[in-house]
């Protein structure tokens, strides 16, 4: 009997094509739709997503199961997300969701159901190299999702297939259309899964009471008020509401820093303001995909999704590391991930703890 692969089916075109390819390769394919968020009626798209997953599986003649991991998601991802925001940081729930839900709870569930491996529609590749399993960037440089997967370890990668990692999004869509997949032209999902298309700040307002304070320039001049530090992100330009008359020039204002102690939001004018740039940062909770510290000649890092690779070096201290960039980086944001690469090999990374 052929190996059973269980595909995490989201309703999107990527996981649909992943399932299609595996089926064509002769695997015994089943699909699971994960419900990780309890509907709050407003604009949760789970029902819509499930409908698409159902139509895709019907078209491909594949079994579809539904599981509900919302309890695990709440405990292991969302509570952490809120805690980070409360601490004035900007967490990345997608990396944590991959680590805790898709490649942990879901993986175990699939193994429990007799799967040899799981598959997802991520744009990333898995390659064996001298007994080490490497996580590599997806071929489509625009869509590469290795950034969100840097927390995976050898055991998880060994049990995983990324069937579309070597395809471009364009080819995925073309194939989906060619094969008559009902969701071939469904638009790409954006934003955090549980927030969907909703306004992010409004979403946060459901969980945090306003905690107003002063908006202060780097020189200490109060220019406006803020609603609560958690509602702002470093490097943010829109929605600051600083009226005319405060700036000396016509340039826009940016969030430069948060002073939690005095509940002050520090702002500066102009995209090139030196306060917005740092060339040194500290990452914590370091994780290496190959389970060993890499030694790489041309190490690069990304400090946000879809950022170009930035040359850097690092100095290890126990579970954390200081990272030194060749070029100063715009809006280094605590809570986000810094992910290291050697070319297209994703080495691992950590959470940005502070800028220096």
């Amino acid at each position: 009997m052929s190996e059973r692969i269980i595909v995490g089916m989201s309703g999107g075109v990527d996981s649909a094509v992943a399932a299609l390819l595996l089926k064509e390769q002769g695997f015994d394919v089943e699909c699971i739709f994960m419900k990780n968020w309890e509907e709050d009626s407003e604009s949760c798209t789970a029902e819509e997503d499930y409908k698409d997953a159902l139509l895709v599986c019907d078209h491909l003649g594949l079994k579809l199961h539904t599981v509900n991991f919302s309890k695990e998601y709440k405990q292991n991802v969302f509570d952490h997300f809120l805690k980070e925001y409360a601490a004035g940081r900007t967490p990345n729930p997608d990396t944590l969701c991959n680590k805790e839900i898709k490649f942990n709870v879901f993986l175990h569930y699939a193994l429990e159901l007799g799967a040899g491996r799981i598959a997802t529609g991520h744009y990333a590749r898995i390659e064996k190299n001298n007994g080490t399993i490497q996580l590599r960037k997806g071929i489509d440089k625009n869509k590469d999702q290795s950034y969100f997967l840097f927390m995976l370890n050898q055991q998880q990668l060994e049990k995983t297939i990324f069937p579309i990692g070597a395809m471009s999004k364009k080819d995925v869509r073309t194939l989906a259309k060619e094969k008559g997949l009902p969701n071939y032209d469904r638009k790409d999902s954006t934003g955090v899964c549980f927030i969907g298309e909703r306004n992010f700040t409004e979403f946060l307002h459901q969980y945090f009471k306003p905690d107003p304070g002063d908006m202060v320039t780097v020189d200490g001049k109060t220019v406006s008020k803020h609603d609560g530090l958690m509602f702002y992100t470093l490097g943010q330009r829109q929605g600051l509401g600083i009226g005319g008359g405060h700036g000396e020039k016509e340039e826009p204002w940016y969030v430069v820093d948060k002073n939690l102690e005095n509940n002050q939001l520090i702002v500066a004018q102009g995209h090139d303001h030196p306060g917005l740039f740092h060339s040194q940062l500290t990452v914590e909770d370091l994780h290496w995909v190959a389970n060993e510290v890499p030694s790489v000649r041309k190490l690069t890092a990304k400090i946000r999704y879809r950022q170009k690779d930035q040359l850097c070096s690092f100095e290890l201290n126990n579970d954390s590391a200081d990272v030194y960039f060749v070029e100063p980086q715009f809006a280094v944001t605590p809570g986000q991930a810094a992910v290291f690469y050697d070319g297209d090999n994703c080495l691992g990374g950590g959470t940005i703890e502070k800028r220096n």
């Binding site: 739709f33 079994k63 199961h65 539904t66 599981v67 509900n68 193994l111 429990e112 159901l113």
Partner: protein
Amino acid sequence: MHYFDHSATTPLHLKVKELMDEVGGLHFGNPSSIHASGQKAKTLIETARGQMAKAIGCNSNEVIFTGGGSEANNLVLWDLIHHEKKHVVTSVIEHPAVLNVLDSLDEFGVSYTAVAVDKTGMVNPIDVQKAITAETGLISIMLANNEMGTIQPIANIAAISKDHGIMMHTDAVQALGKIPIDARKLGVDCMSFSAHKFYGPKGVGALFMRKGLQLKPLIIGGSQERSLRAGTENTPGIAGLGLAAELAVKNITATQSHLDSLADAFQNQIIKACPDAVINGHPEKNLPGLINISFPGFRSDLLMIHLDRKGVAVSSGSACSSGDIKPSSILSAMGIADDINICTLRISFGTKNNMDDVEYLTQALTSSMEQIRSAT
């Protein structure tokens, strides 16, 4: 496919299907039209009303056709907003088509008391009596529960309601065709039915409304169904419901013993194969062919997937909550611990099932448990 989920829905009876095809194809006239085609359609609807009335022991003019069981419940419950007395006595094990409606009625000043059940899933009439207040305008307790199959003492409760001059409704959606129903003997004022639970079509239901009872319509428009349900009638569906009701009660004793034999055989086999299994519900007062069973240590979501692979359709908790391993609120209400609760399946046999199916089911269950055990 091996289908053991008849409490969720049933396949159409072949004769019902034939009738519906015929009615849909030939007798498409608008029942309100006065020409021959309209008259024929009207005749079909009135025939169905007679069949339904006979099946539940009431007069034809006491049957209102609706768009299903939920609508029948809503018709009764929404009427409360016009009542002076807006308190309802109900039970914790009612279907969402009662409890969620009552929750929605909160903003219209309707309040309710949901009485508890014992560990067999049974409501105690004394509890109902105790819950009655000076403001109570309605008692609504289901005739038989959808998850456990426990048959409630509706006649006793209806007697209490009569003593207090309170309107009494029962949701009988699960019961028709499984136990004899006599509206007079039960003594209720209104009673909800759904055709697809007794081998009729989906999207059609009926409300028994004791003569003299007045309700306000939910859907307002033309004068169909005595102005209680406006809109051109679903003639094929209603005709299908009528015939299905007639067929369902025609051989009810034979049906009961058929379903009982299957359920007994299954219980014997499964307890032999899996001595840990626990049968929930009432030992006698339960719907024939419905078994609520817990397999300690085997989560129902996993069991369901393994069974689904083998072409077996059963249910975990109530059908609305599949894919969700939340403990069933009904089992919780009966005092069943969460770890057993989430290991519970509802198996509901139908008239097309036979002993081969029972054997297949036992086999499928035992091999699924083996597979789960070996994977963990």
